[in-house]
């Protein structure tokens, strides 16, 4: 027995292969975050006790700025996807569900954008 809707059968189109997008991007960002996080933690350890001049000089290095940008983009994307699943699991009533889903997504992108902009601001100050 087919599980497809009558409309779906008439159209005769296959899957758009988009159903696993959330799952796939969560894994993609996870894989990226393994080396990025370890690098970031190792760098922070080396910067322990460092003052403003040392920290900003570190961030301003081209490779560091690029890696920090990648860390923040993949990190906040990964966070948004993870928090989305948590909300979907525990918040069932609308409008609380949709409001919290949108708010979390917006907050992640806002804070991620602030973090990336801060890196670029330091990097381009020269």
């Amino acid at each position: 027995m087919s599980m497809r809707t009558p409309l779906g059968r008439v159209r005769g189109l296959g899957s758009a292969k988009e159903g696993v997008h959330h799952w796939w991007v969560q894994r993609l960002t996870a894989v990226a975050l393994v080396p990025l996080t370890l690098w970031f933690v190792a760098s922070l350890i080396q910067l322990a006790g460092a003052d403003y001049a040392m920290v900003s000089a570190w961030i301003a290095q081209p490779l560091v700025a690029v890696l920090l940008t990648l860390l923040f983009v993949s990190g906040f994307y990964h966070l948004a996807l993870g928090l989305q699943v948590v909300i979907e699991d525990y918040v069932h009533e609308d409008p609380a569900r949709i409001v919290s889903l949108v708010a979390v997504r917006f907050a992640c992108w806002l804070i991620g954008a602030i973090a990336v902009f801060s890196v670029l601001k330091i990097a381009f100050r020269g």
Partner: protein, 132 residues
């Protein structure tokens, strides 16, 4: 809406916790906690972009005893979520589903979490104690 009073599986009140389920719950809790940690990192880098005064204030906050407490929790959560996340990636690839392997990898995650946390803090205090 109709009131539903049917019992919920898996009866958490009378359910004996197992390492597999506890680690799974911890993965979610640490994930949410790392969201708070991400706020801290964003604040730190934004303070650096804001100039020496802002950065000094951020460093003073992070360098306080409360800041160290938060950093300790942050590092444990990060290393656990990282280790268990790698375990999840192996599961995604189709490996380690046997009960015995699931427990063995769970122990490995806990050992890795403790080890990485210890290494990180010993290294950080070594750097702090060094000539600067």
């Amino acid at each position: 809406m109709v009131e539903r009073n049917r019992p919920l599986s898996p009866h958490i009140q009378i359910y004996r916790p197992q390492m597999t389920s506890v680690l799974s719950i911890l993965h979610r809790i640490t994930g949410v906690g790392l969201g708070v940690g991400a706020l801290l990192v964003a604040y730190w880098v934004a303070a650096a972009a804001g100039g020496p005064d802002h950065f000094a204030r951020a460093q003073a906050l992070i360098g306080s005893w409360f800041g160290y407490l938060v950093l300790l929790g942050f590092s444990v959560a990060l290393f656990f979520h990282l280790s268990n996340g790698i375990r999840h990636l192996f599961w995604d690839a189709g490996y380690g589903f046997e009960l015995r392997s699931a427990y063995a990898s769970g122990v490995a995650v806990l050992v890795m979490t403790a080890g990485l946390t210890l290494i990180a803090w010993v290294a950080a205090f070594t750097v702090l104690g060094g000539a600067r």
